[in-house]
């Protein structure tokens, strides 16, 4: 005979007496990750493994402290590493659209930027001063005068030669002309016309010859001008060089150990000589701004001088150790950096100073922690991250460029070498999906950090749990917990784990419970958190979320939803369903009915036929069909048509936890053995009639208990659960109390036979015998129909 479980078996208590502290204030802090040895080992390995592709994927459900554990480990490791280099972008004098990346020792970049700013400022003063010396002015005048005199001399000589031939050289508004002379003046036209034709022709020919000759002379003028300009440029370079060299020397000396910077400074020097004019133009006031944003290139000289600016992309001044970056919004640009633009006269312009660092830049030389879901949710961010990890360099480009969507001229900054360890934090499902569907994932994220959701319960672990509770309370400035409160928290941990032998390691749930218990303790004016406060917190959590459960219960109590909790009925069993809404799980009884008749359709799952049943539920029904065939009709066709339904279920059903209840309903219907409606059933069944474990056993029991309690506990009510679920029982105190008082019962069953006996009060053998007899009768009648004997009874009746 199957006896109900004792009250002690329904909730594994945590005995406060096992603790030798009064409150958690006495406990030493414990920051270790409880029950995460496997994950910790993986993190240690992944962080220490400095090889390509050994990035980490920290997987597990939300709230178990993956980020905290990862952060703690990374911080410890980062301290042992040197701070990485600083990186700057500077102008590329050879290929302006490809800004050059400069690597400087950690923390040096701001000083380099300041040095370059100072250099430009100094030259703004030094170059104009050099051009204002008497030496420069005199030499310049000399060059200009030389050209003017040379030009004038040539024209004067030419004029004199023409005059010697009685031809005047006339300066016209746009050049020079020649006219025959009369006395010292140009000949009057009338006089010219009166000259003999031969003389006129001679003069015209003479003028034409002189014009041709002058053309030749004037052809040389631009060349002389160029020569003069060249001399002037040489002079300017000479003067600028002196000013630039003396000023630049200090900067060179400062960075003499950095060849890359020396190369850059050499190019700066050359460019400054070419563009000395920019330093000579006075800086007039502050640069123009629009809404506070400087309008770049507003002035040509400012634009030129901007080329000597240093864009400090990333600097680590004052940093101790390697960086750890948590990027909360891992979009494409947030990872790789971006190139900003300024609007200028309706056009978007940019330059190397507008290149901004991304998370990869900030984490370079250290660690980057990303949320996998957020990363995958950002367009092209995942591809960009993989590309960077594979190529081991950060190539900053806009999404438009990366996808070849825009073809306007933009910047192509020199890629920066990348040395980073990426930690993705995500759900397990995501890890397995990526592993299955992304061939690059396995090569880039070789280290799986699999976080446990629970840990074994026991004296030792209970104490560790207590220390974690104490440490958290201290860190969050909560009241200390009495040891009874700690015991209550531990019991709730087991309940959250859904297993009496385990403790949930969901730090989020624990933190919420402790904070809320502290709130209730404060409200009660207590200096410490008592067990009562913990209970109040859990009750309040449920109360805030159980509106739907209450409405469902109300429907049953008012008779809208038909559930019997007393009496007997054939082919009708109380199944138990569980719903999870908004993080709150609760169970509710569900009437399951079966009808049987002669036929060959097997068992019809009405839920499936009406497309309200999920595949696992359908599988459960098919299994119980297998049980029926194997148990009662191994050597003959099953001449049965049965239908199964979850009554008043309009929202769909999934899972196989009701398959034993469905089988009991079928057997009851076939055997015509009424089922006790004071019992509810949960458990799946296999083809051999073994009852198997299901999930949510506590919630399901409590769901039926609440209904029975509302109608009044009569003593004969209870729930049949799979024996394998006994270890998971962590029932509410009121359920346990009712069981202790004999008002409610929990029966653990291992087989369908045990269950059917409890439900019908009829021995299983008899049930089987009745079922067999019924099925034989069906088979007989089916055969008779098939062979015509009694196959058409209405025809026989006619003959009679």
């Amino acid at each position: 005979m199957n006896l109900p479980l004792s009250a002690e078996a329904l909730r594994r208590r945590c005995d406060p007496a096992q603790f030798d502290f009064a409150t958690t204030a006495e406990l030493a802090d414990l920051e270790a990750a409880l029950g995460q040895q496997r994950a910790l080992g993986a993190i240690e390995f992944g962080v220490g493994m400095r090889r390509e592709g050994y990035n980490l994927f920290a997987m597990g459900p939300e709230g178990i402290g993956r980020r905290t554990v990862v952060r703690r480990h990374l911080e410890a490791q980062a301290k042992t590493l040197p701070a990485p280099s600083d990186w700057c972008y500077v102008f590329n004098f050879r290929t302006p659209h490809k800004p050059r990346a400069l690597q400087l020792p950690s923390g040096k970049a701001p000083a380099f930027r300041a040095s370059m700013e100072r250099l430009v400022e100094d030259l703004r003063a030094a170059v104009p001063a050099a051009f204002e010396t008497d030496e420069y002015r005199n030499r310049r005048q000399q060059i200009e005068a030389e050209f003017g005199e040379r030009q004038e001399r040539v024209l004067q000589d030419f004029g004199e030669r023409a005059r010697a031939q009685r031809i005047a050289l006339i300066r016209t508004p746009t050049g020079f002309g020649f006219g025959p002379m009369s006395g010292d003046e140009v000949m009057e036209p009338e006089v010219f016309r009166k000259l003999p034709a031969a003389e006129r022709e001679r003069l015209e020919a003479l003028v034409a010859a002189l014009q041709k000759e002058l053309e030749g002379v004037l052809h040389d003028l631009p060349k002389w001008r160029r020569e003069s300009m060249q001399k002037l440029r040489e002079l300017n370079r000479e003067v600028t060089r002196a000013a630039v060299n003396s000023t630049l020397e200090e900067v060179r000396a400062e960075y003499r150990t950095l060849p890359q910077v020396q190369d850059y400074l050499a190019e700066v020097q050359e460019d400054m000589l070419e563009n000395a004019e920019a330093f000579r133009q006075a800086k007039e006031g502050e640069p123009a701004t629009l809404f506070g944003i400087p309008l770049a290139h507003g002035d040509a000289s400012e634009a030129t001088l901007r080329r000597y600016a240093v864009n400090v992309l990333i600097e680590h001044a004052g940093a101790a150790g390697a960086p750890i970056v948590f990027e909360d919004n891992p979009g494409h640009d947030a990872l790789l950096g971006r190139i900003e633009h300024l609007s200028q006269m309706g056009a978007l312009v940019t330059d190397f100073t507008l290149i901004k660092a991304g998370a990869l830049h900030r984490a370079n030389g250290g660690y980057l922690v990303l949320d996998a879901v957020k990363l995958l949710g950002q367009p092209f961010a995942w591809d960009a991250l993989k590309r960077a990890l594979r190529s081991r360099e950060i190539r900053t480009q806009s999404l438009g460029q990366a996808l070849s969507l825009i073809s306007t001229v933009s910047l192509e900054p020199e890629p920066i070498p990348l040395e980073v360890k990426v930690v993705l934090v995500g759900q397990r499902l995501l890890y397995y999906l990526l592993h299955a569907y992304d061939p690059e994932f396995a090569a880039l994220f070789k280290v799986a950090v699999d976080f446990e959701e629970d840990m074994p319960r026991g004296r030792e672990n209970d104490l560790l749990y207590a220390r974690v509770i104490g440490a958290f309370a201290r860190k969050e400035s909560l009241r200390p917990l009495e040891r009874a409160a700690v015991a209550r928290v531990i019991e709730q941990g087991a309940r959250d784990a859904g297993d009496a032998g385990k403790l949930s390691v969901s730090m989020q749930a624990l933190a919420d419970l402790l904070r809320e218990a502290d709130y209730w303790a404060a409200k009660a004016g207590r200096a410490v958190i008592a067990a009562h406060d913990v209970q109040r917190a859990t009750d309040a959590q449920v109360e805030r979320l159980d509106r739907i459960r209450q409405r469902l219960l109300e429907n049953v109590l008012r008779g809208s939803h038909l559930i019997d909790t007393a009496g007997r009925r054939s082919g009708q069993v109380n199944g138990l369903a569980m719903a999870q809404l908004g993080g709150f799980a609760f169970g509710m009884p569900q009437r399951i009915t079966a009808r049987v008749r002669l036929g060959s359709g097997g068992v019809v799952d009405i839920e499936r036929e009406s497309e309200l049943g999920g595949p696992i539920h359908s599988k459960g029904v098919l299994i119980l069909s297998g049980y029926l065939s194997g148990r009662y009709a191994p050597a003959r066709p099953l001449s049965l048509s049965a239908s199964l339904v979850f009554e008043q279920n309009y929202g769909g059903v999934e899972g196989d936890s009701a398959s034993s209840a469905e089988l009991y309903a079928l057997l009851s219907s076939l055997a015509e053995a009424p089922v006790r409606q004071s019992l509810a059933v949960t458990g799946s069944v296999n083809q051999h009639g073994d009852v198997q474990a299901i999930g949510g056993v506590n919630e399901k029991i409590e769901g039926f208990f609440d209904l029975c309690k509302a109608r009044g506990l009569a003593g004969g009510q209870g729930v049949l659960i799979p024996r394998a679920n006994v270890q998971h029982l962590m029932l509410r105190d009121d359920v346990v109390a009712a069981v202790a008082q004999g008002k409610f019962a929990i029966h653990a069953v291992s087989t369908v036979d045990e269950g059917i006996e409890l439900l019908t009060g009829v021995p299983a053998e008899e049930i089987h015998a009745r079922v067999e007899a019924r099925l034989s009768e069906f088979a007989e009648r089916a055969r008779a129909y098939a062979t015509g004997v009694g196959g058409k009874p209405w025809q026989k009746a006619k003959k009679k």
Binding site: A168, I170, R171, T172, P173, T174, G175, F176, G177, G179, P180, E185, V186, M187, E188, P189, F192, R193, E204, V207, Q211, L214, E215, L218, H219, L221, P222, R225
Partner: protein, 167 residues
């Protein structure tokens, strides 16, 4: 500022303009306003140039383009009229709102004669700004008797303004 200039107040500025030379009417106007001197804008239509342009085969070689092209008297006169009107307008815009007394004249003569005639009107001391001159450049100072025709021709070709002091 030229030596000794502080001691004299310039009575008149003679700003010379020549065909084809843009001149600097605004700069000249500002100078007149600063000095509170009367301004005479003198646009000189060089007779030699007009005579040359009237020749049947008149042609010029462009400077510095060295391109040869014919010259047409009517076109030249039209160009001079337009230029003179533009200069007059520029001076009017700059000086009408001020208290500076100013006038503008077109003289068809040789540059020396035109300036000489203007100087003969009195208003000494006068500041002559040559057609291609820079009003702000360092000035030369001459006394009236030193101003021969040859010297005046040379001055009008230079860039520096010349302050002509009376005897």
């Amino acid at each position: 500022m030229a030596e000794g200039e502080e001691e004299v107040r310039i009575a008149r500025i003679i700003a010379c303009f020549a065909p084809g030379s843009a001149g600097a009417p605004e700069a000249v106007a500002r100078l007149a306003e600063e000095m509170q001197a009367e301004l005479l804008g003198l646009f000189i239509e060089d007779v030699e140039l007009l005579r040359f342009a009237a020749l049947p085969f008149a042609a010029e070689v462009g400077f510095p383009s060295a391109v040869r092209r014919s010259v047409d008297l009517a076109g030249l006169e039209r160009q001079m009229r337009t230029q003179a009107a533009g200069l007059r307008q520029a001076l009017a815009v700059a000086l009408d709102p001020t208290a500076v007394s100013w006038s503008f004249r077109v003289a068809r003569a040789s540059p020396e004669n035109a300036v000489e005639a203007a100087l003969a009107e009195g208003y000494a001391p006068a500041l002559i700004i040559p057609p291609r001159g820079d009003p702000r450049a360092e000035r030369r100072v001459l006394r009236r008797p030193e101003l021969s025709e040859e010297a005046l021709r040379a001055l009008l070709r230079a860039v520096q303004p010349v302050l002509i002091l009376p005897e």
